[in-house]
C-alpha cells in the first residue's frame, strides 16, 4: 500500500465529509465561509489527511506483522524459544525520519496559517464589543460618536466582505466566543479584554455557541451572526439606533413591562433601563429567544415569560407574577418592538 495512493484518496474522502450538508450541521467547522476560516479549514483537512494516512499505515504494519509469523497454538509457549534477530533499530531510524518530515512540514504550515489569520488584511471600520454572560451574549456596537453606539443581544449583524474587530468581555465567568464557519474560539475572560476578528465571505446566518463550560445552561448559550450586504447592514444599524415607539393601545402592556421587567431589561424610549439582562428595544428583529433555546414566535415568547425555569432550567430570569391578561398585554407590547 503506497502512501502516494492512500493520501489523495483520504483527502478526497475528507473533502466529501466536509462539503455537503453544511447547512445541516450549523456548528461544523470542516467548511468555512470567510477569509479567516478558509486557510484553517485547509490546514485542518490537511492534518486530518496526514493523521489518517499515519493511522492506516501503522495499523497495517501491526496487523501484517502479527499475521506474518503468528503462533496461534499457545498451549506451550516454551516451544517457541526466544531469539534475537538484528536490524530492529533501522525501523526506528526510518520511522523517525518519515515522521520528522511530516511533523516539520505540519509545523511550517501551521505557522504560515497562524500568520495569515493573525489579523485582518485591511483596516477594520467596525468594532463590536461582545460580552459573554450566564447564559446569553450582549453586543455593543462601538463608535467614536456616542450617539451612534447601541446595544443588542443574541444576534450580531455584520456587513459582508468586511473584517470586523470583536472585543471580548467576560461578564461573569469564562465563556468562549465561537462562530465555527467564520473563526475559531476565543474565550471571554473576566478582568481582561481579548480581541479577535471575523469576516464573512458570503451573506448568511452563521450560528455561534459558547464553547467553554460556564454552568448549568452552558448547552443553551447560542447566538447568531447575520452577515448582510452593506446597504442592508446600514439599514439595520439605523433601525437599531432608534428608540422604541409605544403606541397608545400598548400603553398598559408597556407600563406592566416597565414595572415587572424594567429592573433587568432595557427598552429605549420607555422607563425600562435595566442592564443585567438583554436589551429588548428591537426584540422582534431577532430570530431566537433565551440564548437560542427556542425560535422567537409569539407562543414561545409568552411561554418563556410565563415559565422561564421550565424552558431553561437554572436561567437567571425569574418568573413574574403576571395574570393571564397581563401576560397577554406584555407580550402584545413586546410584539411591537420591531
Amino acid at each position: 500500500m503506497s502512501i502516494r495512493r492512500v493520501a489523495p484518496a483520504a483527502a478526497a474522502l475528507l473533502t466529501l465529509l466536509a462539503q455537503p450538508a453544511a447547512g445541516q450541521r450549523p456548528l461544523g467547522y470542516l467548511h468555512g465561509e470567510g477569509p479567516k476560516a478558509w486557510p484553517v479549514v485547509q490546514l485542518t483537512l490537511g492534518l486530518l489527511a496526514i493523521a489518517c494516512v499515519v493511522v492506516i499505515v501503522t495499523s497495517a504494519l501491526v496487523v501484517v506483522g502479527i499475521w506474518r509469523r503468528r503462533v496461534t497454538d499457545i498451549t506451550d509457549i516454551r516451544s517457541v524459544p526466544p531469539t534475537r534477530a538484528g536490524g530492529g533499530l533501522r525501523w526506528i531510524a526510518i520511522g523517525l525520519g518519515i515522521s520528522g518530515v511530516a511533523l516539520l512540514g505540519s509545523l511550517i504550515w501551521t505557522v504560515v496559517v497562524l500568520a495569515a489569520v493573525n489579523g485582518p488584511s485591511r483596516p477594520t471600520r467596525l468594532t463590536i464589543e461582545v460580552t459573554g454572560q450566564q447564559w446569553w451574549w450582549k453586543a455593543r456596537y462601538l463608535d467614536d460618536d456616542p450617539s451612534q453606539q447601541f446595544i443588542t443581544a443574541g444576534e450580531i449583524h455584520i456587513p459582508v466582505g468586511e473584517p470586523v474587530r470583536v472585543r471580548l468581555i467576560g461578564g461573569d465567568v469564562i465563556h468562549s466566543f465561537w462562530v465555527p464557519a467564520l473563526a475559531g474560539k476565543m474565550e471571554t475572560i473576566p478582568g481582561q479584554i481579548n480581541e479577535t476578528w471575523i469576516e464573512a465571505g458570503q451573506p448568511g446566518i452563521y450560528r455561534g455557541q459558547c464553547s467553554e463550560y460556564c454552568g448549568v445552561q452552558h448547552a443553551h448559550m447560542g447566538f447568531l451572526v447575520v452577515a448582510d450586504p452593506a446597504e442592508k447592514f446600514a439599514a439595520w444599524r439605523a433601525a437599531q439606533l432608534r428608540p422604541a415607539q409605544v403606541a397608545v393601545p400598548q400603553q398598559t402592556g408597556a407600563t406592566l413591562f416597565v414595572y415587572h421587567c424594567g429592573a433587568c431589561h432595557t427598552v429605549r424610549g420607555t422607563g425600562a433601563g435595566g442592564t443585567v439582562a438583554p436589551d429588548l428595544t428591537h426584540l422582534m428583529s431577532r430570530g431566537i429567544l433565551a440564548g437560542d433555546v427556542v425560535a422567537n414566535t409569539i407562543g414561545n415568547l409568552a411561554g418563556w415569560i410565563a415559565n422561564p425555569q421550565g424552558v431553561k432550567p437554572g436561567t437567571r430570569m425569574p418568573a413574574q407574577d403576571l395574570s393571564g391578561p397581563e401576560l397577554q398585554r406584555v407580550v402584545g407590547f413586546l410584539q411591537t418592538l420591531k
Binding site: 461544523g28 465567568v173 463550560y213 448547552a219
Partner: protein, 647 residues
Amino acid sequence: MADPELERRPEFATATVAYAHDLERLWETSPGIAGWLSTVDHKEIGIRYLVTAFAFLCAGGIEALLMRLQLAGPDRHVLGPHAYDQAFSMHGISMIFLYAFPVLSGFSNYLWPLVLGSRDMAFPRLNALSYWIYVAAGLFMYAGLAIGQAPNDGWYNYVPYANREYNPGMNEDFYSLGMIFLGISTTVGSINFIVTLARTRAPGMSVNRLPILVWGTLTASVANVLAVPSVSLAFFLLWMDRQFGTHFFDVPQGGQPLLWQHLFWMYAHPWVYALVLPAMGIVSDGLPTFCRRPLVGYAPVALATVATMILGFGVWVHHMFATGIPNLALAFFGGASIVIAVPSAVAVFAWTATIWLGRPVITTAFLFFASMIVLFVIGGVSGFMTGSVPVDWQLTETYFVVAHIHYVLIGINVFPVVGGIYYWFPKFTGRMLDEKLGKWNFWTMFIGFNVAFLPMHLTGLWGMPRRIYTYSPDMGWTTLNAITTVGAFIFAIGVAMLLINVVISLRVGRIAGANPWDAPTLEWSVPSPPPPYNFAVIPHVASRHPLWEDRLGESEVTSLVTRGLLLDHGRETIGTSPLDGDPDVILKMPGDSYMPLLLSVGLTMGFVGLLVHLWWLAVAGAAVALIAGVVWLWPRGTLGQRRVRHV
C-alpha cells in the same frame, strides 16, 4: 568511613528449607483483621490499589453510561442539567485521578520489588500510607456525590465559575480539599518509587537493565513530585477564596482567572503523561515476552520515556490557545506540542519492529498490548492536530478533544492495564485467567471502544461542544451520538467480562506455576504467588533478561537466582548504589504497623473538619496524625543499618 562493628558480610549460598521457613515467619503478615489493617507488604498493597482503582473505574463507568443515555438522542431527559454537570465532573475525576494513576501504582507497587530483585519498597510503611490516603481522598470526593453536591465544574474546574459567588454549594469544597488530600498520597507514593529505584535493587541491576515499566514509573514519579505542588496550591488558593474571602481568583478585587489555568495545566499536562508512561512500560515489557524476542531499541525507548516527560513540562499552554495569549508565544507551545510526538513515535516503531522481528504468540495479553499500538497512534495523531494552534482554535472544547482524550486514556492506559492483568494475574494469584473468555473480552472491548469513540472525532468536527447536557435535533449530531452510546454499552460489557473472568479464574483457573509465559524478567523466577519475602536469596543480575540468558546466549556472566546473599537477621534486604547496582548496605526493613492507617484516619478527620467548619475536629485530626507520625518515626535500634563489606 564506616564503623567496623557495623560491617557484616552476608553469606552467599543456596536457600535451605529451614532458612526459607525462617524468612516466612519473619515476613508474613499476621492473619485476620489485625494483619489486614497493619500490613506493609508491597504485594498486598499493590493488589489493593488495583482492586480499588477498578472500583472507581466502575463508578466512573456508570456515570459515563448515564451521560451516554442522556446524549443518545436530542432533547432527552435522563439527567437534568445539574445532575449531568456532576456526572461529567465525577466521571473525569474518577477516571483521571482515582483510576488511571492509582491502577498503575498498583502494578508498580506489586511489581517493582519483584522485577528489581528486592524484598520490598524502600519505605514499606509510606507505601501503606499512600494507599490509605488514596482511598480516603477518593471516598471524600464521592461523599459529595452521595449528598448531591459533587464537584460540578468539570475536572479542570475553571474559575470564576468555581468561586463561591457562582457556585455557592459545597460541591467545590469537596473537590478542593479532596485534591489537596489526594496530592499527599501521590507525593509520598512518588518519593517512595524514586528512593526504591535509587537504593533497593538487586546487585547487578544497573540502570541499563531496568525494565521499561520501571523507567515509566520512575519518570512519572519525578514528574509528580514536581507537578503536584502546583495543583495542590491552586486548590488551596481556591479553597481560601471560597472560605475566607481571599482574592486570588476574585476578579473585582484584582484576581486572575488565568492564574488558575496556568497552575492547573502546569500540573495536569505532565499528569497525563504520568498516566501513560508506566502503561507504555507495561507494553514494552509484556509485548516482547509474547513476541519471543527482546524489545527492539531498549535504550531509545528508555530515553524516549524520559524525553517525553521533559517535553511534557513545556506544553501546558496548548490547553490555553484560546485565552488571548499572544500568537507568537502560542507558536512556540504549538511547536513543542508537535515535537513531543517524536519520542512517542520511537516507542511505536520499537513495538512494531518487535512484532515484525519476533514470532507473535497470540494470547489475550498480546492482543491487548498489540492493539494498544494502533489506539496509541490514533490518540497520538489527534493530539498532534490539537498542537496546531489555528486548528486547535476549532478543535478545542469540542467532542474531537473528548475522542482524543479517550483514545489516550483508554487506548494507552486501559488496554495496557487489562493486558497487564492477563499477563501478571498468574503471578498475582497462582492461577491463569481463562484464555477463551479472554479473547471474547478483548474483542468486545476493542470493538465497543472503537464504535463509541472513532465516530466521536466526527461528532467534534461537526461542531458538538463538550459538556452540553442536551442538543437539538437540527444540529446534525443525532446519529453519531446514538452510535457512540451503543459502543459505550458494548465496551462496558467487555469490562464486565474481565471482572467475570477474574472471579471465575480465582476459583477454577489453571494452576500457573512460576513462569507460565516463559518470560525473561526476575518476577517470574519466584513462585506464583510469590512468598512474602519475594526472594529467598537476593538474586544477582547480569543482563536485561535473566531468565532468557541461556537461550539468547549473549551475556558472558550469567544471572544468579537460586544462589545469592542470605539475609535473615530480621526483615532485611540489600541496598545498592544508584547507577551500577553495587551492594553497599544491608537495609533493615520495618515490620507491619497500624501507624499509616492511624495517620490517614487523623488526616481524614482533619479534612472533614475543614470541609464542614468543625475547627475542633480539624485540630483533633491534626493531633492524631501528629501522634501517629511520632510513634511511626520513634527511633528503634533494630532498624540500624549495616554496611556491607565486599560481597
